[in-house]
Amino acid sequence: MLKTFSKGGVHPAENKLSANSPIEILNIPEVVFIPVNQHLGAPAEIIVQKGDKVKVGTLIAKQTGYISANIHSSVSGTVQKIDDVPDTSGYNRKAVIIQVEGDEWETNIDRTDKLVTEIPYTSTEIIQKISESGIVGLGGATFPTHVKLSIPDGKKAEILIINGVECEPYLTADHRLMLEKTHEILVGTKILMKALNVSRAAIGIENNKPDAIKKFKSIIKDYPSIEIVPLKVKYPQGAEKQLIKAIINREVPSGKLPIEIGAVVQNVGTAYAVYEAIQKNKPLIERVVTVTGKKVLKPSNLMVRIGTPIKNLIGYVGGLPEDGAKIVNGGPMMGKAINSLDVPVTKGTSGIVVIPQKEAERSEVLNCIRCAKCVSVCPMGLEPYLLMTYGEKQMWTEAENDKVMDCIECGSCSFICPAYRPLLDYIRLSKTTVGKIIRSRKL
């Protein structure tokens, strides 16, 4: 009997079209656009000027405040200008625009493929180095990793959970990374364990990736403290709280962080980035992006430099299909549609999914028939139909009392609703408004 989380969950069609395409390296573009807020928290402060020469790995923006992350140049060349560039939502954000010249790397970066397993650093050194390398959670939430690794006073981490679930349909970036960089991920896990000072780690992988599970199991005996946990396929298992519940059967209390029950969750992509930062001195300048879709000629997994315009990725997989109505940044369940192909790839871009017209269209919204399907699928045990009504009627106190802040925005309720009601849209509205009210109360 395979493990999984207990409450709710849905089973969207997997459509992992690119699961068998090895990671390919995308050509370096002519110009990159590197936004300064690719992470959760305060935007980084730009430290280069127009005309400056940069190399691959040069620090171009420094973190401001505790919850923030450094940003490095992903290419070598000249800073063309610092300007506002539309981000995935279409709003302008500050970005460094670099004209690419050659591919010259900072000399301290080790570019060989040699596996380095020795970890001669202390916990503080590791966290310091991760912070310097600008690593953020690569699962999509882009929370700065060094903050997650710094355990607050009075708390103790007991287990590190590595998230190899990739429960979003279509996406295969983590899957391919697990197959091709298995050793590196395991060493990255060891580094993270040392940083957290824990003796146990578990890598959770859904059962729809048997090849990755097999690959890990074949070499796991070299890493005695790490356990491989195959999981039953169910969305949203990749969500932090659901994954903890599935693996160690503990529930994170409402409004609290996983560290409350001694768990820290990191994505496999993050583990790989940590390996590269610590053992190879390489800051976070590229990531794996799945570019896929039913009508896409060649669904692929691409290693892409941060700041590459999305149109380059689309071009590589055979161009935009004729029936490419909606382009989603991220997975189809939680990702957001973009309205320009000039938008750059950022640290949080896990996939680009092209959805055909027929599937992209939203059906007409009907009345709620009180079937309670949304209640039964909510992995957080909330009542989405009620929270949506609160959002519509602007009943913020009631929304707060009914724990709207616990919503993880997985979209299972909107997915299952037979009346096609925009549940998540209104719950998000409630969440942002209630969040503002709570923050203003603290002031």
């Binding site: 939502s89 549609a337 309205n339 320009s340 939203r362 925009p422 209104y426 998000r428 509205l429 942002t432």
Partner: protein
């Protein structure tokens, strides 16, 4: 038989007397004095509970008026100046005569002026749309057209024009309560002075992008060229964040800026048609 009836009647009378005495003392003990003027003031107010005064409902405002030492800065927009004067007389205060205000929609991004580049099918709510993305057009400041302002208006003074996809304020109905101003996530609606004979001049754009970017998104955007600032004889126009703004307290409605604006971003309302200007314009067109 008779004695039973008398006994019951007497018992009831006795109970009644005891209860009356208790109630009499209770009423004395727990008496709450309420200023009778609160009721009088409330009767004078508009009774719309619109929140335009900033207090919770008309009763709340009436209480605040009676309690206040000075009521000069307090105003009930739907009731107007005459009512405020009456209230002031009743309470023995003075009031400032405040200019009548009206809501103004500062966006002219009709589908013709502002071409659409994407399709939105999400929830029909401006706040949700605003938090998701910049909207169907290239302009990330303009009207989203989902009608949060219409839903907020308690006086049915706003409707969405299906051809322009912009909200329209019905001047006769608008009481300047400000509910729509608060409802708009992009702060497009502003309370401006109604002006003599409802004549108003304002910049019908809130786009803070640089000129070229704004113009590309919308043909009637303010491109912050500064021509209006130069031409204004009353120093009423300022440019901040790439956007011109006309101070309605300084504007003397001379309409020079309207003629000068190269993108027609400055709008005049309820003015009689201009004879000379129209002739010369048509002459230019002929040439």
């Amino acid at each position: 038989m008779i004695s039973v009836l008398i006994f019951s009647a007497l018992t009831l009378v006795l109970l009644g007397v005891i209860a009356a005495i208790m109630l009499y003392f209770a009423a004395k003990k727990f008496k709450v004095y309420e200023d009778p003027r609160i009721d009088q003031v409330e009767a004078l107010l508009a009774g719309a509970n619109c929140g335009g005064c900033g207090f919770p409902g008309c009763r709340g405002f009436a209480e605040a008026l009676v309690k206040a030492d000075k009521i000069e800065d307090m105003n009930c927009p739907p009731a107007g100046n005459d009512t405020m004067k009456k209230i002031a007389e009743l309470l023995g205060h003075t009031v400032k005569v405040s200019d009548p205000m009206i809501a103004v929609v500062r966006c002219n991004g009709t589908p013709a002026n502002r071409p659409e580049t994407s399709i939105y099918q999400g929830a029909s709510n401006c706040k949700i749309k605003h938090s998701l993305y910049r909207g169907e057009t290239e302009c990330s400041y303009g009207c989203l057209g989902e009608g949060d302002c219409v839903a907020a208006c308690k006086f049915d003074a706003i409707y969405m024009d299906p051809s322009t996809r912009l909200p329209v304020i019905i001047e006769e109905k608008c009481v300047a309560c400000g509910a729509c101003v608060k409802a708009c996530p992009r702060s497009i609606i502003e309370m401006r002075k109604k002006g003599p004979k409802s004549r108003r001049i304002y910049v019908s754009c809130v786009n803070c992008d640089k000129g070229a970017v704004a113009k590309k998104a919308c043909s009637v955007a303010c491109i912050s060229c500064g021509k209006c600032v130069k031409v204004c004889p009353h120093d009423a126009i300022t440019i901040e964040n790439n956007l011109a703004y006309i101070d309605f307290n300084k504007c003397k409605l001379c309409r020079k800026c309207v003629e000068e604006c190269p993108t027609n971003a400055i709008v005049e309302l309820n003015f009689p048609p201009r004879k000379k200007a129209e002739e010369s314009e048509s002459a230019v067109e002929k040439n």
